[in-house]
């Protein structure tokens, strides 16, 4: 088929990482390169030891070949994450984090942990944050109905994680509360899935 079964219900984390890698990051290059036109824009010139702003995928690529150092974003620091973690555990709401923070943090920590100050502390903070937020998003399931559920400050990777269960739950509510025509439609949809 045109689209493999696992891709029909959701987006895979790797696809999310591909999208997040389009965002720009500062690097200190170790090679020179003239300003070059790429499809997503023109980047460069790379002139060590000056900083330059390039897409994350390019930075990761160069870093793997040891041709640059990645300057981690301001939010990927122990102080910032520590702040957010204490906010997360004391407040009922989700704290504000960049929408794609999980993907970006992962990409940077995977290849450039030597460019991040105190990388192991950053990792464990990210992990704590993730667990604190996960338990909050599970609580959100109790508020689900058939019309709308607002999830302020929920990040993309977290949305992707709760998607299958939440979507299914809301569809069941719609089915239970819907009009007779709607029920027919849902039944048709079920049949499709079975086929």
């Amino acid at each position: 088929m045109a689209l493999p079964q696992p891709l029909r219900v959701s987006i895979t984390p790797t696809e999310l990482e591909l999208i997040a890698s389009e965002q720009l990051v500062d690097v200190v290059p170790l090679i020179t390169m003239e300003k070059t036109a790429f499809i997503s824009g023109a980047y460069g010139p790379l002139r060590p030891p000056n900083k330059c702003r390039i897409p994350l995928w390019m930075a990761v690529n160069l870093k793997l070949k040891k041709k640059c150092h990645i300057v981690p974003p301001d939010w990927l620091t122990v102080e910032f994450l520590q702040d957010r973690l204490s906010e997360e555990t004391s407040e009922p709401e989700f704290s504000r984090l960049p929408f794609r923070f999980a993907e970006i943090a992962r990409a940077i920590l995977d290849v450039a942990s030597d460019d991040v100050q105190n990388a192991e502390k950053v990792r464990s903070l990210l992990k704590d944050l993730r667990e604190a937020r996960q338990s909050k998003s599970r609580d959100g399931l109790s508020q689900i109905d058939n019309s709308e559920l607002s999830l302020p400050n929920l990040c993309l990777m977290e949305i992707n994680e709760i998607r299958p269960y939440f979507v299914k739950a809301m569809n069941v509510f719609t089915q239970l509360k819907g009009q007779p025509e709607a029920i027919n439609k849902d039944a048709a949809h079920e049949d499709d899935n079975d086929a």
Binding site: F99, K127, E161, R163
Partner: protein
């Protein structure tokens, strides 16, 4: 998500002095103004064609219905891919290229492959829906408006092919009144598969949106950056106008 557990645990400690120097390195003098690097919160500047295509791709992946074909964006990008590949080929065939040139071509090539991946996935997602709803599309001219010519053509042939197959394999042996493929028996699902617009989707507001009416009768006004789970029918118009994206 199964490798998430070792996501943050792979220990490694760095040299703090060196990292401070990294952070404080000067920006290149003739740096043109650029969007902020990994900003804390994304700004709503103009999207590049690639970002537009990625948005259309994600919408298409999440929406239960077939969305309008992003023809202009796609043809522009395909053109760009072709030009970029030609340049890469040209540089590669040049034996006197320096190491610097080598890196540029390698990066350009990598980007071409990334964009191609998005284009393919976008088209395949549409193809999947078109085949699934082929008969519905052929009975509904309004939906055909959203497809490209090639896609309508494919839907027509696919619907014809399956109809013929059903007829030859089973239907011709049945009594005349049971040979149709579009029965609408009360209290039974219709035979033509239709997109389920009550399917729940996650939306992310790209700007402040006009109020929408929810199924329970109340209204919702989404501010920029708002994230919400709601049935697709509620936000369908906002998606078509590009005011929200599906995530």
């Amino acid at each position: 998500m199964d490798d998430d557990d070792d996501f943050f645990t792979n220990l490694d400690s760095g040299n703090d002095h060196f990292q401070n120097r990294l952070r404080n390195a000067p920006h290149d003098d003739d740096d043109v103004p650029m969007p902020a690097a990994l900003p804390l919160f994304e700004e709503g500047e103009g999207e590049t064609p690639l970002q537009q295509l990625i948005r259309h791709w994600m919408n298409e992946r999440h929406a239960p219905d077939v969305l309008p074909f992003a023809e202009d964006v796609l043809s522009g990008l395909l053109d760009h891919i072709r030009r970029q590949s030609e340049t890469v080929q040209l540089l590669r065939s040049d034996p006197s290229s320096s190491e610097e040139e080598h890196f540029r071509t390698m990066l350009a090539q990598t980007e071409v492959e990334r964009v191609k991946f998005v284009v393919r996935s976008y088209l395949r997602t549409r193809l999947f829906k078109i085949e699934k709803f082929a008969r519905y599309i052929m009975t509904n001219p309004e939906v055909q408006q959203r497809l490209s010519e090639n896609e309508v053509d494919h839907a027509r042939r696919f619907a014809k092919l399956t109809d013929q197959h059903f007829y030859v394999s089973v239907l011709q042996g049945l009594p005349d009144n049971q040979q149709t493929l579009d029965d609408k028996t009360p209290f039974l699902p219709p035979m033509i598969a239709e997109p389920d617009k009550s399917h729940a989707v996650f939306v992310h507001a790209r700007q402040r949106c006009p109020p929408v009416r929810l199924l329970d009768g109340s209204t919702l006004t989404m501010q920029k950056g708002h994230v919400s789970l709601t049935p697709y029918s509620v936000v369908e118009q906002l998606v078509m106008r590009g005011e929200v994206e599906l995530v």
